[in-house]
């Protein structure tokens, strides 16, 4: 590439311009190589919406042995839902789990609305739930995982200076499922599936230039916006999930 550019333009000014163009092209290639591919599939099956004075709580599904929604992600969604002029009343996750202890611990937490109905029939549980003021429970399942990585960077240092050369890249996949339960009607109000695949690259030409994307942060933002819409917009919200 460098050789061809030099052969075509002989004037020193043109060579400088061409070099800039080449560097620009290389940078543009790197920039286009990194980015986030987002996919969100909301599905709402009732017309229930959150009313004034009602609260929502965000809980993590913790019964998996290998993964669970990160505490940081739960906090991000909770804060996001409460933020802004259109912010919702969000109940603290820890406080909810403590108030309903031991029924929302990983081994006992209801996995479906039938189990939820059974749980609310136990002595004292319904009263406690009502006392919290929580109408909707958002169950978050999923995690952010590194799905691929490659390339490499070599660095060297000597008396004359130091420098690196190479290219490293990696892919992080933030995949989450939000299932929303309505505690008033004891039904599942719907689900939101979010998949944010992010590719980061780090080219090194003398110094490493990190071009990092954060799919988890993007997934948090995207899912929060969808949840806000879900909880405030009645029926007919969003397309249904793909079948088959």
């Amino acid at each position: 590439m460098r050789l061809r550019c030099r052969q075509t333009f002989r004037s020193p000014i043109n060579v400088a311009q061409t070099q800039k163009l080449c560097v620009g092209l290389v940078l543009a290639t790197f920039l286009s190589a990194c980015g986030v591919t987002a996919r969100i599939e909301p599905y709402k099956q009732t017309n229930s919406v959150i009313r004034e004075g009602e609260q929502v709580v965000v809980l993590a599904r913790k019964h998996h042995a290998t993964h669970e929604a990160e505490a940081e992600f739960i906090e991000c969604i909770s804060k996001g839902l409460a933020k802004g002029r259109d912010g919702l009343e969000v109940h603290s996750t820890t406080a909810f789990e403590d108030q309903l202890y031991p029924w929302f611990e990983p081994s006992l937490a209801p996995l479906n609305t039938d189990e939820l109905t059974e749980l609310l029939e136990k002595p004292g549980v319904l009263e406690r739930v009502e006392a919290t003021g929580v109408r909707f429970v958002v169950w978050l399942d999923g995690s952010t995982d590194r799905t691929a990585s490659g390339g490499g960077i070599t660095c060297a240092a000597g008396i004359g200076g130091a420098g690196c050369i190479g290219l490293a890249w990696w892919e992080d996949d933030a995949r989450y499922d939000a299932t929303i339960w309505d505690l008033e009607s004891l039904t599942s109000a719907g689900t939101i599936y979010a998949d944010f695949l992010g590719r980061s690259v780090m080219p090194a030409i003398i110094i490493p230039i990190p071009l990092i994307v954060r799919p988890r942060a993007r997934a948090c933002k995207g899912l929060t916006e969808q949840l806000k819409n879900f909880l405030t917009t009645p029926y007919g919200y969003g397309p249904g999930p793909e079948l088959g």
Binding site: A71, E97, L100, Y101, P102, W103
Partner: protein, 220 residues
């Protein structure tokens, strides 16, 4: 004179090496004291008066493990054991009282329906070695032994709990995972205690006895 100088240099070098080795060793020793507030369980109170035995082994529980080529871990669980179990049993039973041993003394013999001894039998943990491991994991097993006031054994029940926490600072993650495991143990005890067949039978006997004494009260 020359010999004295060499000897002084050697002692300084040895001292420095000692300090370095000491720093290294201190740096690799992790001490974690489990302190947490455990919530009161939302469960039905059982109509029995229970004497509680918390041995010193439980209330001063200390776990020590040396992981080769890594670190030594000392985990203090005594206070947390007392806080978790005390609060749990106070909610689960209509009345609780600390007792020293079974059989009970004549004073307590007719004032309590049973005696419960709790021991922490096993504690295991795993702290990630490589960056690929995502969680700190804790597994623990308690043993609950229920006796009649006269010392007759009703049941021995092992209860285990598992907790995990995302890695970060190892000590903090281990603390969180231990608290999760202890909450799991508390959840199992509070929801499954009365479902153990021997305990279910024993509770039924107590209910029958209470009903009988209500029907035919003793008159002096």
């Amino acid at each position: 004179m020359e010999i004295m100088r060499i000897s002084r240099h050697r002692s300084i070098a040895t001292g420095l090496l000692g300090v370095l080795a000491g720093t290294y060793l201190v740096g690799c020793a992790s001490v974690v004291t489990i302190e947490a507030e455990f919530p009161t369980p939302v469960v039905e109170t059982l109509p029995v008066r229970i004497g509680l035995i918390f041995d010193e082994a439980l209330t001063s529980y200390e776990y020590y493990e040396k992981i080769p080529q890594q670190a030594t871990w000392t985990i203090y669980l005594g206070n947390a054991n007392e806080t978790m179990l005390g609060g749990l049993f106070d909610t689960m039973f209509v009345e609780t009282r600390a007792v020293d041993a079974v059989p009970l003394t004549p004073t307590d013999l007719y004032n309590l329906d049973g005696v419960l001894r709790t021991e922490l039998e096993k504690f295991e943990f795993e702290v990630p070695i490589s960056k690929r491991d995502e969680f700190v994991e804790v597994w623990m097993q308690y043993r609950l032994t229920l006796y009649e006031p006269d010392g007759a054994l009703i049941v021995e029940w092992p209860v285990s709990g598992y907790g995990k926490s995302e890695t970060g600072k190892s000590e903090e993650a281990l603390h969180r995972a231990t608290v999760v495991a202890m909450r799991e143990v508390g959840a199992a005890i509070s929801t499954r205690f009365a479902e153990q067949p021997e305990i279910e039978y024993w509770l039924q006997e107590r209910r029958n006895a209470a009903a009988l004494s209500a029907d035919f009260p003793l008159t002096n």
